[in-house]
């Protein structure tokens, strides 16, 4: 076991939507630390604040109070563009609804984040091809999302997330739209990426089976962490 390095550190994080009477407290004070190479599942019923929490972790939203440090950087103090750069260079996203560009081939979808890194076309193609090979879709590179199954689409999305070699992969209900066997394929892929490549994975799910693949399970209830325990599986 290598030495543990802190990747994400969260203290007394709150998020309030609206103001005054209509104010809604989505997060009521979260403390959490995630190390590099961890595979964390965030569980909880809808409305427990886990999506809000993921949006803040992903730099898509900002907290009301408290602090979120990513590799020591206080993300809440970054400007909108600085947070965009954080996402571009360090974060990968996988969504429940895949969120691929329709009418655009699998390869081009995977290439997309590299365009924003300003890489030349040839390098982009190579890297995107390698990512597609990693998820086992090399022969599907010219297909558009509409021509792929749900599981294949999610694998393209994963390829797009890992093509930039991010520090962490945020997966929001990655198997929410998939049947059992497709779910297993996706989870096996995530476990492999976590295990073999040492990619940190933070995954939101409400499905206990899916959460079972993670090394650590954090349960949210009503804007607070109810429990935080290892899952038995060594990561």
């Amino acid at each position: 076991m290598t030495e543990k390095t802190v990747l994400i550190e969260i203290s007394r994080l709150t998020k309030v939507y609206g103001t005054g009477q209509a104010a809604m407290e989505a997060l009521k004070g979260i403390d959490l630390r995630i190390d590099e190479r961890e595979f964390v599942a965030v569980m909880g019923p809808s409305g427990s604040g886990k999506s809000t929490f993921m949006n803040i972790l992903g730099g898509l939203d900002t907290e009301t109070s408290g602090a979120y440090r990513f590799r020591g950087v206080v993300v809440g103090q970054l400007t909108r563009n600085q947070r965009a750069r954080l996402r571009r260079y360090y974060l990968g996203f996988v969504f429940q609804g895949f969120n691929l560009l329709n009418r655009t081939s699998a390869l081009e979808n995977v290439e997309l984040p590299l365009i924003y890194r300003g890489l030349p076309t040839r390098v982009r193609r190579e890297k995107a091809m390698r990512a597609l090979e990693t998820v086992g879709l090399a022969q599907w590179k010219s297909h558009t999302p509409g021509e792929l199954s749900g599981g294949q689409q999610q694998r393209v999305a994963i390829a797009r997330a890992i093509v930039t070699e991010p520090a962490v992969l945020f997966a929001d209900e990655p198997t929410g739209n998939l049947d059992r066997s497709r779910s297993r394929e996706i989870m096996d892929l995530l476990v492999e990426l976590n295990g073999r490549r040492g990619l940190t994975v933070v995954m939101v799910t409400h499905d206990p089976d899916t959460a079972g693949y993670a090394g650590r399970v954090v349960r949210f209830v009503d804007g607070l962490i109810e429990s935080d325990e290892p899952n038995g599986r060594v990561s």
Binding site: N55, N81, L86, R87, F93, I115, Y116
Partner: protein, 401 residues
């Protein structure tokens, strides 16, 4: 990055060809209209200028009857040859005066016939109308005085009647007068109104008066002012002299009209320029409307592609990059309109120049300006939708269906 954006923009525009075409139609029409107007306008102006130059800018034309506006004139008291002589005698700045009468007559040679403008004039006519005799000779004094049956013909009459034969010494018939052709005028081409200036036969005024019109009247007097002398002053002097000779009391208006070529030139070019300006304004409005069309479609596009924008923002696109993407698309749209407009304008102005018979003068700077303007329309009207796209909240955008 920019290249990628341009490729992306055209890919996006190709996706909905019909919409793209309809969107840029306003720009196409606007740009085409501007260029056609300017090109044809400049051609017409150049032609007028050329025409005036060939007529001589120091020409005055005196016609009986006061011009009252289009197609209207007061009852005319015609001029006599004496009026022309008086002007020549009494006004020092006048270099030449040519009393001229014109009638449309069928000229016949052998079995050929051609209806032409038979012009009664004297040798001063060549000077005032800025013409030279290409072959043969002018009238002799004896011919002018005695009213001899001789004619100097224009190039068109020569072609129509003689078909390559040498006309000098041949006899042509004008009504019942058999005239010997003594000279051929140098060809001059068409004038501003598209009239053929070589379609004429000049005979001595005395011959015209005695054997064709049957009266001593003169249709008009052409006057050439001396080089360097003021045409305005000469014009005023002529007016004064003619009022006196025609016994017009101080309270009455002139019953004749002295036209200055400079005025005519100014009037003609002025009209062309005004027309060009007005139509260009219409074209500018069309560009504005086209721009609004682009803004409208870009706003629709931003709404349709909200999810795509959300994805781009989520994976790390900067606000400026999303803004640039949509701006490039708007500019690509409007520039495409500009290019199509230019192509259309080139075809259109070539055709119109041919039909209107004006020289085709392509002003490259106006083409460049029109193109830059159309691209500018894209920037101006694309900015608001692009900014809307760039400012989207990625979370909201990703949730958008």
């Amino acid at each position: 990055m920019l290249w990628n954006m341009i490729l992306l923009a055209f890919k996006e525009l190709k996706r909905n060809v019909m919409r793209t075409v309809l969107t840029i139609l306003g720009i196409v029409i606007g740009v085409a209209a501007v260029i056609v107007m300017v090109t044809v306008g400049e051609g017409a102006t150049a032609q007028v200028r050329q025409q005036i130059a060939s007529m001589g800018s120091n020409l005055l034309m005196v016609t009986p009857g006061k011009r009252m506006g289009p197609g209207q004139s007061t009852a005319q008291t015609p001029f006599k040859q004496a009026d022309a002589q008086a002007i020549y005698r009494e006004i020092t700045s006048v270099a030449a005066t040519a009393p001229v009468s014109v009638k449309s007559i069928k000229a016949i040679f052998g079995n050929q016939n051609w209806s032409t403008q038979v012009t009664g004039a004297d040798n001063q006519y060549w000077l005032t109308s800025n013409r030279t005799i290409a072959a043969g000779r002018a009238f002799t004094d004896h011919e002018l005085k005695s009213g001899a049956a001789v004619a100097v013909i224009g190039e068109t009459v020569k072609e129509k009647l003689f078909d390559g034969q040498d006309p000098i010494g041949q006899k042509i018939r004008l009504e019942d007068v058999s005239c010997e052709v003594i000279g051929v005028l140098e060809d001059k081409g068409q004038n501003t109104m598209g009239q053929d200036q070589d379609d004429l036969a000049v005979i001595p005024l005395a011959t015209f008066q005695r054997r064709i019109s049957g009266s001593q009247d003169v249709g008009m007097i052409m006057i050439s002012v001396q080089d360097g002398a003021s045409t305005e002053k000469a014009k005023a002097d002529i007016e004064r002299l003619l009022r006196e000779r025609r016994h017009i009391s101080a309270s009455d208006e002139d019953n004749f009209n002295v036209m200055d070529m400079k005025e005519i030139s100014k009037m003609l070019t002025g009209t062309t320029q005004l027309l060009t300006a007005l139509l260009s304004a219409v074209a500018a409005v069309s560009l504005l409307v086209g721009g609004i069309g682009i803004m409208n479609i870009m706003l629709v596009s931003v709404t349709e592609r909200t999810r795509e924008i959300g994805i781009r923002l989520a994976i790390g696109a900067l606000e400026g990059e999303v803004l640039a993407q949509f701006l490039v698309e708007a500019v690509a749209l409007s520039s495409l309109g500009g290019i199509l407009g230019i192509v259309l304008a080139l075809i259109g102005s070539l055709a119109i120049s041919k039909i209107m018979n004006v020289p085709f003068i392509l002003n490259l700077s106006i083409v460049a300006i029109a193109f830059l303007f159309s691209a500018g329309v894209g920037v101006v009207f694309g900015y608001f939708p692009a900014r809307k796209a760039a400012r989207l909240d990625p979370i909201e955008a990703l949730r958008h269906e």
